[in-house]
Amino acid sequence: MPQLTASIIFVLFALVQGLAAPRSIASPRLGACVVPLSQTVRIPVSPAGASEQADSRDVSISTLLVSKGAVDELPEGPTGFDVLEDGSFVIVDPLRKRICLFNPQGKFRKAWKTGFAADSVTVMKNGLLAVEESGTDMLHVFDRDGVAKPQEAAVLPRYGEARVLSGSSGIVNHISAGGTRTLEINYDRQGSRLLSLQALAEDAEGNIFVAVEGTTAGDSGEEIRLNKSIRRYGSDGTLSREVSDIPLDYYVAPVGELRVRDGKVYQLLTTSSEVKINVWNTNDQCQHDSE
């Protein structure tokens, strides 16, 4: 009897451990760990109606606004976001012409009116926010309290230029403080063709994050089909982690939907009922790490 009890406790303990700390799984195909989804932050949205009018009360409304569109018109709503140092989110709310701040759990903290609809927002190295106006593509600068700053302060980060060389390879000329270095990308997914590469970010350890689009569809498919992944390369150019098969069922067409902060990959996905922020933690332990 005591043995049985001990066994049950052991099994329960193992289950709790397993659930609490999802581990990356080593992928023999990639030689990298495939990183599982760590968390999804959900923020409620309100449907936009014809009676919706921008007014001063908008700064206190805790939901984001989404229009359902119509025949021949795409739905509209939040398309861009970024992540602050403490894991809070800054999200554009274009239909209410405001910028919103949410805590790491997705709880509304505050908002401010911009006077224009914005596509995307970027936290710059100086801590200020660069906000792109939809109607003019002009960059505006704000501090975290919504105070407008001179436009000259807008310096968007650049992480490198990518080039697709073939259906299975490409390069990223990565820009860092030490100069430019070339990262070789091998795309060896069976039956899949490399479509595009995009340098997303570099973290404090010198890891480089690259978005990779590929397709298994040939030229006779019915519609555009593809897969998207985010790869983390070490400072020595070794592929170490991959966030594979990012969800692509966008309801509102994305603009600035991918961000990386402190080794975590974030994706903004606006649906008709909520804004989802998917989080993958590439810092999670990997079987490779202990080998």
Partner: protein, 214 residues
Amino acid sequence: MWLPFRILVMCLVFGSVALSWPQASTIARLPRASRAEIVARAHAIANHGWTCSSSNLNASCSRKYRSDWKAGQRVTGIPYRWGGSDTPELFDKKLAQGLAAGAHSQYGILSCAAGIDCSGFVTQAWGLPAGHAYSTSNLRQIAGKPKYNWYTDMKPGDALNLPGSHVVLFTGYNPDGTINICEASGSKGRVVCHSATWSRFVKYIPLQYKGIDE
């Protein structure tokens, strides 16, 4: 024995001719356009500059209407108007008459507004006149699926269409594998040309205009 078979064959032959004849005549009537002309027209619409005056902020036929723009604002790109297909010349004329600059679907199709929507833009770039009957749902009548590899061999002037939802004009590939497109964008409130990742176009269908002069 042979009579029913002959009748069947005749029905099939005449039936297929009768069905394909209207489509063939539609294609024969399509304006011809080279790919360079299509892209030039698209850029002309996207680069069309205009200034919003205070009279263009209101729509006389809609009380609910709210403008995307401000008085005195200088804008590049003809504004988005759901159901619209105005040429740059017609748009300028309507603007001077004090019509509203652009409108979204939430206000309905506004006759008192000026601008262009996604299908109006693509068909105008292809050379079709304003006021035609093509939407994203029936573009297949004047554009077919390209036989070449969409991911590597699309040509400027082709389109990416999500029937019933949106259509954009493809203008080229970038070295990083992303694509260049022009579109009448509701969220941007106007016609714009920009680069985009493929992820935005999952489930879209590539189309090639049937009036293309290769």
